[in-house]
């Protein structure tokens, strides 16, 4: 494998890791507040459809992005109502919303565009187009680092850079603000937060809303940047892979970045069976490459890569003592 091919693979690694990273950070906020969210997948799908549809109709990707975030927030609110207000089973609520999203997205897209549940292909301002970072072309001549900068770092849509910026921001919010301290406390020991006179319910709703916004970004990225339009089931299990990355990252923002980059790398490899064959010197069946991220996830979950301890109050509805 030559350097140019490696750069191509790293470039698609970053592109494919972005939705995983956004969804992983989304799950991070929710789960740190004690709400398991298996419905990342459905929220992404809903956001992808809404952003694809609105961007296609209005021609503005920014309106599409807002619609995507709004659609994802609706599902997040439903998840909050079911699991915070009515103290339902969080896993079952997530599964249910995933199914609803899977069906409703096709129903709405079919009703609006009549193209078999897809939205029309997006072009021009209806998409997030690649940005060329300053000096990318000028520095291309610099050996090794120049092409790396021009090919891998530069040339992505703004959402990729936003996702990367969200990593330190999430870290700062969670570990350096009062809100973050309380959010983490509510996922470990909600009774103590309640005793301190802070509303557990409000904090958990805030966390679920942040999850909704981040999943909205992830879904909008899928439909308006990674691909040009929405297609049925286009998230293809990314919400679940993001959950696995979250466990791999042990619920920490920086580790989430490395975990999602790793999973993105495997997805990038699955797109290039020729490269895998050239490096390994034997033919790897494409389904094996497709299954690789899932197998890796299981290995991670099996604890072969360190023990992951979830937030202590995760999954349990909070009942105030009467």
């Amino acid at each position: 494998m030559d350097y140019a091919t490696l750069l191509q693979i790293l470039d698609s690694t970053l592109r494919l890791a972005t939705p995983l990273l956004l969804a992983c950070l989304a799950g991070l906020f929710s789960e740190r507040a004690g709400i398991f969210d298996i419905g990342l997948e459905g929220k992404m799908l809903m956001a992808a459809m809404a952003s694809g549809a609105v961007a296609a109709l209005s021609g503005s990707v920014w309106l599409g992005l807002c619609a995507g975030i709004g659609a994802s927030l609706v599902l997040a609110a439903l998840h909050g109502i079911a699991s915070i207000t009515f103290r339902g089973n969080q896993l079952i609520a997530g599964v249910a919303l995933n199914f609803v999203a899977s069906g409703v997205t096709v129903l709405i897209a079919q009703r609006m565009f009549g193209q078999g549940g897809r939205t029309p292909p997006l072009t021009g301002d209806a998409r997030f187009n690649p940005l060329t970072l300053p000096f990318a072309e000028e520095l291309r001549g610099v050996p090794v680092l120049g092409p790396l900068y021009a090919e891998v770092i530069s040339g992505h849509s703004i959402l990729v850079y936003l996702a990367l910026a969200l990593v330190p921001l999430s870290w700062w919010v969670l570990y350096r603000t009062r809100f973050g301290l309380r959010l983490r406390a509510v996922g470990e020991n909600p009774a103590s937060v309640d005793t301190a006179g802070v509303s557990v319910v409000a904090l958990r709703y805030a966390a679920v809303a942040i999850t909704g916004v981040l999943c909205g970004l992830a879904g909008a990225y899928m439909a308006t940047a990674l691909q040009a339009g929405f297609g049925r089931e286009m998230t293809a299990g990314r919400g679940y892979i993001a959950l696995a990355a979250l466990i791999f990252a042990k619920w920490r923002p920086w580790a989430a970045l490395w975990a999602t980059l790793l999973f993105g790398f495997f997805q990038a490899l699955a797109l290039r069976p020729d490269v895998v064959e050239a490096v390994l010197r034997f033919k790897v069946p494409v389904p094996a490459l497709d299954a690789l991220p899932y197998v890796l996830t299981v290995l991670v979950l099996a604890g072969f890569v360190g023990k992951a301890i979830p937030p202590r109050a995760g999954g349990q509805p909070y009942v105030k003592e009467r």
Binding site: G88, N89, S102, G103, L243, Y294, L301
Partner: protein
């Protein structure tokens, strides 16, 4: 006043949850500019209005009974098995390998062997997530989801590169031998009268020999096995020591441990039974209908098992009734896709809404009912 009467808890809660799901499904239909009444009529007519229709309804219901029971058994041990889909597809692989291994002399022998193959393969696919949950504490929900994706990849690989006969284009196994063909319900004397072919005026359509003819339906003898499975699961859960241990473990792991119940053993056994039941559904679709293994053979039935188990309140009798209801929904939904402009995905929306209301929002329904009952008690007092 905090407790609901038992009949309300058993019958009213699921009924109201179902009505809420139906109401919101109707809202979805209105929102996409369709008439819910018309859609319902098409569904009833397509799923129950003819021998052909309910042949399919019963066929789907058979699969859903198995997957619903699979989820039920796991739920009683406090385990949420979302992997029914993958377990069913791998179970289908077991069926295919058994059916293609021998030129079976009679379908009864083939059915027995294929059932064992299906259950063993399904159980094996559930065994790894079970072991990881029991021994290493990996969350079974995520591992079983991952195993669904891995199962799909395994099946694609095997069908494209290994099991596909030379010269065949589509990724599928060879057709099963004639001796592995299961009788359809319309072939069985006593049952076939249900599938009498009639014309629009209700008169029987006669064959060339002047005898009554029967609609050929995909529902097959597997339905009888599914009914037996409902009964056996009920026996297991409420009439055996193992069932008691499973339920005790599901209620409180700490208490079960204190009572000397081995958590690793119970987790493994429960998931093996669950996976085996999910695998067994493949004798219905792979052996009974397609008669060869195709990609995505289970077509989402593994996921519907979740809705069926929740709707059926995790009781085999409830699972039986909920499976018939979902059989109706699936056949009716397919007819919608054929005869109207409503996409077939409506089925998934309804499925999600049923899971939402029966599984996650049942507290809300209970609160409503408690509130309603508090008036009644107040008046009586």
């Amino acid at each position: 006043m905090d407790r609901l009467p038992k009949w309300a808890d058993v019958a009213l809660v699921p009924l109201i949850s179902l009505l809420l799901a139906a109401f919101f499904s109707a809202m979805v239909l209105l929102a996409i500019g369709q008439s819910p009444v018309e859609a319902f009529n098409v569904m009833v007519d397509g799923a129950l209005g003819s021998a052909y229709g309910w042949g399919y309804t019963l066929y789907y219901a058979t699969s859903f009974m198995f997957t619903g029971l699979a989820v039920t058994v796991a739920f009683h041990a406090g385990l949420f098995n979302i992997g029914g889909e993958g377990q069913a597809q791998i179970g289908g692989l077991g069926v295919a390998l058994v059916c293609l291994a021998l030129p079976w002399p009679h379908w009864t022998l083939a059915l027995l062997a294929a059932s064992l193959g299906a259950a063993a393969f399904g159980a094996a696919w559930a065994a790894i997530p079970a072991y990881l949950q029991a021994k290493r504490g990996s969350h079974i929900v995520i591992t079983t989801i991952m195993f669904n994706y891995i199962a799909a990849a395994v099946i694609v690989y095997l069908l494209v590169d290994v099991l596909r006969p030379a010269g065949q284009m589509d990724p599928a196994t060879a057709r099963f031998p004639e001796g592995a063909k299961l009788p359809s319900l319309s072939d069985i004397p006593g049952l076939r009268e249900l599938f009498l072919r009639v014309d629009s005026s209700g008169m029987p359509i006669l064959g060339a020999d002047g005898l009554q003819t029967y609609q050929n339906v995909p529902a097959n003898v597997t339905l009888l096995i599914a009914l037996a499975a409902c009964y056996v699961v009920w026996l297991l859960l409420w009439r055996t020591r193992l069932g008691y241990q499973i339920r005790a473990f599901g209620k409180s792991e700490a208490a079960a441990k204190y009572a000397g119940i081995n958590p690793v053993r119970i987790t493994m056994i429960t998931m093996l039974i669950s996976g085996g039941l999910a695998g067994l559904m493949s004798i219905n679709n792979v052996m009974g209908e397609a008669e060869r293994l195709l990609q995505n053979s289970s077509e989402g039935a593994g996921f519907i098992g979740i809705a069926v188990a929740l709707m059926g309140r995790n009781h085999p009798l409830g699972v039986f009734l909920a499976a018939i209801l979902f059989g109706f929904l699936y056949q009716g939904g397919a007819e919608l896709g054929l005869w109207t402009s409503i996409p077939i995905e409506l089925r998934i929306v309804v499925q999600g809404l049923v899971i939402l209301f029966t599984g996650a929002l049942d507290q809300m329904v209970r609160m409503l009912l408690r509130w309603a009952f508090s008036f009644r008690t107040a008046r009586v007092a």
